[in-house]
Amino acid sequence: MTALELRRVSKDYGEGPAEVHALRDIDLSVEAGALVAVMGPSGSGKSTLLTIAGSLEDPTSGEVLIGGTALSGMSRNDKARLRRRSIGYVFQDFNLLAGLTAAENVALPLELDGIAARKARVTSMATLEELGLADRASRFPDELSGGERQRVAIARAVVGERRLLLTDEPTGALDSANGEAVMRLVRAACKRGVAGVVVTHDAQLASWADRVVFLRDGRVADQTSPPPGPESLLASGPRQAPGTGQ
C-alpha cells in the first residue's frame, strides 16, 4: 500500500521578484514499511517537502495523498486527527512541551489517542529505554542535553500506531552511536509497517533507507536504485568506490 504519495507537488513562497520556488513538480511515493531518505544541499526544499507531506502546509499546486486519501478533500478536523493519530514528526527544532517531563512528552500522543495513562506510561518508558534515556525519563526538556532532547522527540514520534513517520535531521545533535540507535528504532518502526521519510545531509544516516532521493533546487534530481542486499558485498569483498583507491 502507498502510505504517502506526492503528485506533481509545487510550493512557492512570496511573490514577484521575491518569489521562491521551494518545490517544483515533485512526484514521490513511499510504500508502507519503506524508509526513504531525502538528501540535498541547504535550501533545496527538504523541510518544505516534509511539512507538505505531513499536511502542516498546503502545496501551491499538486496533490498529497496519505493512505490513499487526498488531503485536499479532507476537512480541517479530519486533517487534525490524521496528524495526531497517524503521523509522527521530528522537526529540526524538536518541539517538546516544556511543562512536561521526557516520559510525559512521549506518552502524550498515546493519551491523546485515548490510551489509558498507565499503559501509555509503560510504552513511553520502554521506548525511552531503547534510546538509552531510562534514567532521564522524569526530567523536563530544559534539564536535558541537546542530543537527549532530540532522542525524546524521536521516541515521541515512533510510539503508538503511526502510519507515517516524518523526520527532519533526526540525528543532528547526536554522536554516531546514538545516531545509529535512532535509525535502528526508525527501521524497527518501518518493519512494523510504518512508512518513513528521513530528511538529512548525512550520508551515513541516509544509508539506512531503502531508497535515497536527491533534491536539488526543489526538484528530484536523482534517486538510488533498490539495494541488491548484503550478500553481494560479502561475496565479492569490499568493492572499489569510484576514485577511492589505486
Binding site: Q204, W208, P242, Q246
Partner: protein
Amino acid sequence: MSVRHALLALLSEGPKYGLQLREEFEARTGEVWPLNVGQVYTTLQRLERDGLVESDDAGEDGPQKGFRITADGAQELAGWLRTPPDLSSPPRDELVIKVLVAMRLPGVDVHEVVQVHRKYLVELMQEWTRLKEDEADYDLPLALAVDAELFRLDSVIRWLDSADGRLRRAAGDPPGRAASPVPMPMPRLRRKAGVRR
C-alpha cells in the same frame, strides 16, 4: 597487517599449536586479516629464530608443535599497535582528478559527474549499512570494520558535496578569477598540496 603480527596477536591470547594457529588464522582471514594462510608455518619458524616466540622443546616441526609468545614478541606487537599506518597517499586521488578534469571539459556538466559518484557511493553505503543492521549484534569485529568503511565513504561524499557547492559559488561569482580558472597543471597542484606518492 603482516602474517608476523597476526600470529603474534593470536599467541598473545595464550599458547597455541601450529595447526590451531593455522585454523584460527584462516577463520579470521577475510574479516580483518586478508592474508595468505600458506605462510603460517614458515613465519612461525622465523619468529622463533628472531626470539619473538618459543616452541615446546626440540620436537619436530609441524601442526602438533606448541608455540607461545616471548617478552620480546609482546613488545614487538605493542610497538606495531602504536605505529601509525601510512595515510600519506590520498585515497580519493582519482576522484579528485575526475572532478578537476570534468570542470574544464566543454560540454560536460561537472555537477552531473559529481552526482553520478555521489549516488554510487550512497548505494555502496546502503549495502554496508544493511550488512551492519543484519549482523552487527552478533559480530563485533564486523561492525567495527563496516563502520570504518562507512566513515571512509562518507568522507568522500562530503568532499563531493563541498566541491559541488564550491563550484556553484564560483560559477555564480562575477567574471574574474573564479569564473575562468587558470589552467592548473596536475603536477604543480600536487606539489602545492604536499601530496607524496
